[in-house]
Symmetry: C2
Subunit: 396 residues, 2 copies
Amino acid sequence: MRCEIVAIGTELLLGIIVDSNSAWIGEQLALAGIDSHFQVKVGDNFGRIEATIRHALERSDAVICCGGLGPTQDDITRDVIARVMGSELRRDEAIAERIRTYFQSRGRAMSQNNLRQAEIPAGAHAIPQMPGTAAGLVCPVGDKVIYAVPGVPAEMREMFLGTILPDLGRRSGQSAVIRARVLRTWGMAESGLAEVLGSRVEELDRLGNPTLAFQASGIEGIKVRIVAKCDDEAAAVRILDAEEKLIRGLLGDVVFGVDEQTMETVVLDLLRRQGLTLAVAETVTGGLMSARLSAIDWAMETFRGATVGPDAAVGSSEQRALAAATRVRQQLGTGVGLAAAAARPDEGLPPGAVFLAADISGTARAEKFMLTPDRRRMREFSVISLLNLLRRMLSA
Amino acid sequence: MRCEIVAIGTELLLGIIVDSNSAWIGEQLALAGIDSHFQVKVGDNFGRIEATIRHALERSDAVICCGGLGPTQDDITRDVIARVMGSELRRDEAIAERIRTYFQSRGRAMSQNNLRQAEIPAGAHAIPQMPGTAAGLVCPVGDKVIYAVPGVPAEMREMFLGTILPDLGRRSGQSAVIRARVLRTWGMAESGLAEVLGSRVEELDRLGNPTLAFQASGIEGIKVRIVAKCDDEAAAVRILDAEEKLIRGLLGDVVFGVDEQTMETVVLDLLRRQGLTLAVAETVTGGLMSARLSAIDWAMETFRGATVGPDAAVGSSEQRALAAATRVRQQLGTGVGLAAAAARPDEGLPPGAVFLAADISGTARAEKFMLTPDRRRMREFSVISLLNLLRRMLSA
């Protein structure tokens, strides 16, 4: 089963919008075991869209067209697909009614243009998921198929997961259930992970199921993705559970979370469960830690705040980090205080040396980290390393 | 002149990396008046890369291949181009020497693999810009041309701007100089801008040079892009200068900056020139303002710091904003204090009402803004609106 993606819109070619839809769809297809060998961007031009879709149908079994389903004259995906199908556009009254209802329920006036969105090629059928005013389409062409979805990411995703992915599964005759789980790690290089997990990876290469893959993601750490393929959901989940347990056993507390968990959500959860609140002295991190924590805990109930400013204290970086963690904890009256202090040239430490400190209920501890001397990266790595230090202390 | 972009790499199809290179190249081509009708992503597969390049050469005059120039077995762009050119790969000793020097100067050992990067198709020549170990290539094919650049954005950009863009200009016989300037605006909707600039846009539609275009960019505001096409650089700059003056006359202080300037750089420059320092009370903005300012002023010389925490004060939102701006200014001993306070339900104000306040040298002023009640967007819009308020006060 080969599925090609065609992203439609002149603004994509001009670089006004980066085409992240194709990347997302590509990831979903790969996860489902469907090949996607080509992904093409083309502008709002009838002849070029038509040539691109025809070419895609020659070399692939399915084509997903993304974009060009809006109400304006530029939006010609429906027209081009009708031409490729050798059919005509017809008003679909059910879609027209849904569009009218969409506007009425929001108290907005509908322009006549919007009814263009209810014209679909004869022989096509509408995708039931329709969160906006654009109808997605399933358009059979011989034993192949063209799908059309809007370029608005949320609408595209709902239609893809609700209709296209299951339809592709049926067409490929693939009855297997594919499920994935991502283990989030921090503190070990990819080569280190590969070494620790090496014999397990080899074993799985022989067994074939589940599979393991690593994905480095900068300050978000390295993701270990487990993919299981089974006859049913329950069996897939059992395999994922078993593999997660095995990998956690090998990696220990390098694994900080699963799937959508981030370092911030994990640390805030740990604090909450232990009835602790948090304050941060942001000399090295310049507000970045606060911005990340308050994006989740916006009412600042667990993360109680921070002081941001240059590091004016005297003493070694270790002393300054410890003192700042304790001071901010006392100042804001929290259970935990966090701080970082970068080594100064006269300390005889290599550039990039940073002490990270945590004071938990009056017991302070500092650790030396070698980070990059580049300021931007030092800020970012200090934030994650500080959160990870606290995570390990709270989990110990 | 038509130029097609081929992005090469299986990780692009799998969605592990989003292809932002093609968007960037597309923008540069558009700015230079070169058409780019198709942009294709293809994996690390010899036959499919070859088919994609051959197809691109049929319908375009130039093809830019991006990626697949690394030292590993996966990196086959050089091999495929040699096949398309009907030639063989040959070791280029000058490139080999540059690669050896690259490793030596960094005190790193070179693996033999890296010399694969010195094998280029006979008939191709290397792009002089070579910031890494991958050599970019210019490969003539009849009267058409294939360019190859690495997928690392910084390397790609240097080669594109240094060699490919001028070469495309020569090939298209286009002697015109195209220069662009972006005016950054904040505080007026796109419809408002279109109204104020309407008659000028119509006039330019008749004249043809320069052209104006609007580009909405979320909390970065709306960009007004002026593009001038002239016989020489000096004439283009004269046109841009005159048009900028005219638009600034129409829009007034809605224009906050030009080209690479951001709201932060503009405000920090204004403060510096007036010998003022800044402190911020981040109750609504939760550290986001600090993160943005310290990303530029990382030593915190002008932006002296912030307090982050929930808003525990009593009083109306206007009173709380004013008091917080004055308090943080006094606390940190700065010339300027900034603060925001969101209206509470008992104030009788609509949801999303926020007072933004600035205290400059003891004179405090607050303004009411209607922002979205959504917390994340309220944070972001408060940051930009506060900076813009201060900009207007310092410019008055």
